[in-house]
Amino acid sequence: MTAPNAVVPFLSLHRLTKTFGTHDAVADVSLDMPSGEILCLLGPSGCGKSTLLRLIAGFEAPTDGSIRLDGTDLTGLAPHRRPVNMMFQSYALFPHLSVAGNIAYGLKGLGRAAASARVEDLLRLVRLEEFGNRAPETLSGGQRQRVALARALAREPKVLLLDEPLGALDRGLREQTQGELRTIQRRLGTAFVIVTHDPSEAMALADRIGVMDRGRLVQIGRPETLYERPANRFVAGLLGDVNLIPGTVRDANGALVRVETALGPVLALGEGAPAAGAPAVIALRPERVGASAVDPKAAGDRNALHGHVETSTYLGDRIRLQIRMADGSTIRASLPAGAGIASGVPVRLSFAPEAATVMAA
């Protein structure tokens, strides 16, 4: 199952701004989110992603803008009146309550029997059936994370907000927990907004990723869109290694744009490309670059560039080439193992126009 293409707004942020002093922590962010989606807010620390989450939870009041959820305006509502719940980065488990007591904390209006049945269900959901009477401090990090998740899900929130939910876990556990988190989300159908600084985590979890930089939402879209068609250098660099080739836009030919670079003319996909004559940057992922020592027959309108292999690094599953181009710049290529080329050999690089994206410089 993938996210629906047409976004039916369920959670809707409109021109949301939060200013601390003179600093815009969140600046003019608008986004719509359908129900049942996992949206990851990705960005470096201090980019405003956590503040955005706290605005939705109600812990911060926006300086400007509004938040609507399922037809109701949440903007002025106190946190305890919002139908959203948050899983805190520190988990914020109540140390004086048992695991079951923590999960039951939000179930006040439910009646004793119903609440304890619900706690049982949630303990089963996060596979902690045996741990209801334990104190949080006796649990491992992974178990605490699951208690925090169960507690946040107890009130059946319309949107679950997760602040770096896997940040405190070690690497192996994190990957396993990513899978569990997705499974639980698919089963419940609750909309998740996940804040993370880890691009690979965002790629693994998200239906859509919203990339934030200095308070602004710079691009939002499916992981493959962001990876293949970054809107700017920041997004391109955040999601993985990328070659950036500067140049000038020559002419647009349908979806394809011809860019004049120091390495020669390059044809690339350019939906958001600047007008002819404007400076531009081409983003090219290393794994989309083909390299061969011999001159291949020019196939169709594939781009062809020439250089020398400077270093060749064997990584097991891949081989990494660093290629010195005629103008002195370098381009990195990542080839399947077995396609190795020795250092110092002249090499011809080729890539399809669709593999490269033209962005504003």
């Binding site: 939870a57 109600g58 812990f59 106190a78 946190p79 305890h80 719940n85 948050m86 805190f88 980065q89 520190s90 914020a92 488990l93 109540f94 140390p95 004086h96 048992s98 904390y105 939000g106 006040k108 009477n133 334990r134 104190a135 006796t138 507690r151 946040a152 107890a154 009130r155």
Partner: protein
Amino acid sequence: MKRLLPVAPYLWLAAFVLLPCLITLKISLSSPATAQPPYLPVLDWSAGIDGWGAFLEALDFANFETLAGDSLYRDAALSSLLYAATATAILVILGTPVAHALARSPARLQPLLVALVIVPFWTSFLIRIYAWIAILKPEGLLNAGLLWTGLVARPLDILNTPAAVMIGLTYAYLPFMVLPLYAVLSRLDPALTEAAADLGASPARAFWTVTLPLARPGIAAGALLCFIPMVGEFIIPDLLGGSGTLMLGRVLWSEFFSNRDWPLASAVAVLLLVLIVGPIVLFRDAERERGGVGR
């Protein structure tokens, strides 16, 4: 020197805590005498073992019999406990919101606000209690204010009543309640109260069910820190409570200085010690029991 270091704290305690207690206990088991020192028996070191024997034989429990038999001492002890317990309860109720507000105030302001709580200590305790006389007396500041606003027609008699003692105790010990509570509350993760709010708890419920239970160690520490010295308090009941106020500290003082009955005064001191040790032991056991649950 190195070998001495681990036992140094015990030596210190023995010299400055245990030894004075033992001396007090010894005097409390002696009889008053018109002599220097004003009690008998006195241990005769030159007589060796025999001296010890004679000394131990001469000790008696007459002073404690007096304490038990004379209702003055029983009433003083009970009223001291009552004053201290009531004042402690008032201090918890007053100190918790103050400490909570302190812990929630902007981080930049907190050092200043904490300093303001401590500022009164820069002035002599005695002088500050004297100042309360000026406030509470019939023609004092408080009554002048009340008369001026028209709330009362005649000056209230506050000075030399139990109410004045309670006001004095509450005033003097508030910092001892606020500071340990503040220390605990300021270390609480703010995410805990946010989590409570997030889970639907109103600010009041979040306070009762999360902040207050987690502040318990601070409340307990503050309560002990206030209760113990208040039981033996002398200056406040003497200056503000007038002659009618019955508290052990005053009884002790008058036995010691007015009646010059050192043995009976020492017996009162021992009684005071027992009264105070009781709550500490109870408190420790209760805390240990709590700590055992879910751990």
